[in-house]
Symmetry: C2
Subunit: 418 residues, 2 copies
């Protein structure tokens, strides 16, 4: 994409009404627009990153046998009354609204009720199980405070996967498979090293749930990390009993601030009992379906990558989720030579299917380099009179700062290879 056609402009100054580092950077770089506290629109670069993230997660969900669907935002109150979660005392972050035709509806903060209920039309027998269904869907939560940018939104994008099994063994097995998928996802988006599976409070059907927590001072959670075992314990369940069960010693754990980037939970029969989701087993007996739910905050994850990987000059995207892997910069010089060379390179890359952001704007080099640093694409490629003179391209790695003079073939391999 030519930057002259990308309408977003960068800002040198932090937005006045924003406290969170991730949102400041994403707004300055033109990835998002703030509509209200905790409500952001995706501008073209931000949307590209969201879509890259979705593609990675979708691949992992499909590999688990997940089937994709998309549930509505407006919710049927009756279902939430059956589960007991319509009450504002029970669930305190509802956006509720009135139907002009009579009655109330609410904006989905999560989708257990809706999905459990619709499964009743599609699931009768043990032969229909297991079912794994997931979606990428907007959730709404009426947060009293929303000062953490994309880390805590009032409107945010989530991947939520739900499992339906006919046995505890089936649920347990799938739950373990999801752990593997989640590890791969955090690894693939560049947060593998800083993200820990974390024991957290469970419910009536399981002693613990598991969170995935990324270390960050911007986080709202406190966890206790075992580096050796690559796991952590949420402060809320840090008891002698937990430590002994997990074979941990308090003195080996390091207290850290962290951001929850995922949560997996064995629901058991909580929702199937409440909403009447039963199957007939091999003996002809009716049984409630065993369920699990598995979430990843997609928009939050964009915020976390921004927050955790950025440096003092701006955003730093891993190649996997960068809006473009490479930022081609034309540096205006004497005559037309550099412009022609940059144009030609852009066209060749585009023709080869290599998506590139091309800064074709007639601006001073310093301004373009500052923009490139702020946008944070993995590789900066410079075409200037100087690079033309030596018959090479200048390639700079945004993350390491390393600069190389390379041939076009080397460029292609480094920026667009696997």
């Amino acid at each position: 994409m030519r930057q002259s056609q990308l309408f977003t402009k960068t800002r040198r100054e932090d937005p006045k009404d924003e406290l969170a580092h991730n949102a400041k950077l994403l707004i300055r770089a033109g990835f998002v627009n703030k509509e209200l506290a905790g409500v952001y629109s995706w501008l073209p670069l931000g949307l590209r990153t969201v879509n890259k993230l979705i593609a990675i997660i979708r691949e992992e969900m499909n590999a688990l046998g997940g089937v994709e669907l998309s549930l509505s935002a407006l919710q049927n109150r009756d279902l939430w009354q059956k589960s007991g979660r319509w009450d504002d005392q029970v669930f305190d972050a509802w956006f509720k609204t009135t139907l002009f035709s009579g009655g109330e509806t609410g904006l989905a903060p999560t989708h257990e009720e809706a999905l459990t209920s619709l499964m009743k039309d599609h699931l009768n027998s043990y032969k229909d199980l297991p079912i794994y269904a997931y979606q990428f869907q907007t959730k709404f939560r009426n947060e009293l405070r929303a000062k953490s940018g994309l880390l805590r939104g009032r409107e945010f994008l989530m991947k939520d996967l739900y499992s339906f099994n006919d046995s505890q063994a089936g649920l347990d097995d799938f739950y373990d498979q999801v752990k593997g998928a989640y590890e791969r996802i955090y690894e693939r988006v560049g947060l593998g090293d800083s993200t820990y599976i974390t024991f957290a409070a469970g419910g009536s059907f399981s002693k613990y749930s598991h969170e995935y927590q990324t270390l960050s001072e911007a986080g709202e959670d406190t966890i206790f990390v075992s580096q050796d075992k690559r796991l952590a314990v949420n402060k809320e369940v840090l008891t002698e009993e937990t430590l002994s069960e997990l074979g941990l010693k308090r003195e080996d754990l390091k207290e850290s601030r962290s951001i929850e980037v995922g949560n997996i939970f064995k629901l058991g029969t909580k929702f199937s009992d409440a909403l009447g989701l039963f199957f007939t087993d091999q003996n002809g007996q009716k049984q409630p379906v065993l369920m699990g739910s598995y979430g990843i905050g997609v928009s939050r994850l964009v915020g976390v990558v921004a927050e955790v990987l950025a440096d003092e000059r701006g955003l730093v995207w891993p190649k996997s989720v960068a809006p473009f892997p490479a930022h081609l910069i034309w540096v205006p010089g004497q005559g037309e030579a550099s412009a022609e060379a940059a144009d030609r390179l852009y066209q060749e890359l585009t023709k080869a299917g290599h998506e590139t952001l091309y800064d074709d704007r007639p601006l001073p080099a310093g301004e373009k380099f500052a923009d490139a640093d702020l946008l944070g694409l993995p590789y900066r490629v410079v075409v200037s009179d100087k690079t033309l003179a030596v018959g090479k391209l200048e390639l700079k790695n945004r993350s390491t700062g390393e600069t190389l003079m390379v041939s076009q073939a080397e460029l292609t391999s480094l920026c667009f290879g696997e």
Copy 2:
């Protein structure tokens, strides 16, 4: 996809609480689930159709120079107060809700206000123009009656494109380009013959807007069609003046019921004036930006294709938007031969990247064929003892009913060729 893994089940009976033909069929075929009147969730097959439709529209929007973004659902009340459309007397289909932190917000029924406002941060000079920005985003409208299934949703998916130009000539030219793109879209989704560009009421900046109307008895609109000129006039502007301006005679026009499947509108400076979106022209003068808006109801279009193309046996999808181009049906017979042959064919098609729905369920042929007719995929491919005996595959065209015995190479070319 193996049908044994697709969790949705078909229904023989119409749902009791649904009046609209499109929704009855889509529910029976397991494409959607009804959550509330006018609120539907997308089940896996329906979501696949939505995504095919999105891909077609996205291609046409990108060809126009459109840049994709995604605006929030929760709206900033201040902006709508500036445009005068927050008032329920002015816009009568708001879903409004309260922020626990204080104040009100509403669910976006459209996005002119939000986009016009955010452009103020990105647009200063005539050099920044034109800008064409579009999105696929959920809209919410608090309809008093929502009895038309997917044709009139309280929550629905729209493609909305907005143009920003520095001159009337630029706006006019882009507006004409959009007409071409819209014609291609309706043609590509199988509604080309039954869809007419229709003159409708304009606003303060243009005498007419244009709707795209698809002929259907299920429609809520009344239009007057000129077959010769391939255009129509909405009843609301059918005056002597209109007829004379368009060179039409009343007696040549045929009155028809129709469904609005798109709307394009020159907004002029209505929103840029109200929200203060100005640019500096070549003479250094501040001018309001000229805008246009261009909508297509994506979920409605799924409903229209379902409603208009279906027959008495079920849905009939054009190849372009079918969840899968082909429905491979294994007919259980003597021994394992047919199952093995069907499995092998499915694996070969999948390996070649040909996405196929594979009915691998051990059910009687009649039940499978009835399901296939209801789902309405373009080609039904049968593997049975009978087809094995003649060394061919049975291929049936869902739309024409034509049945052929074909080789695997012919099957691939017919079902998956261009």
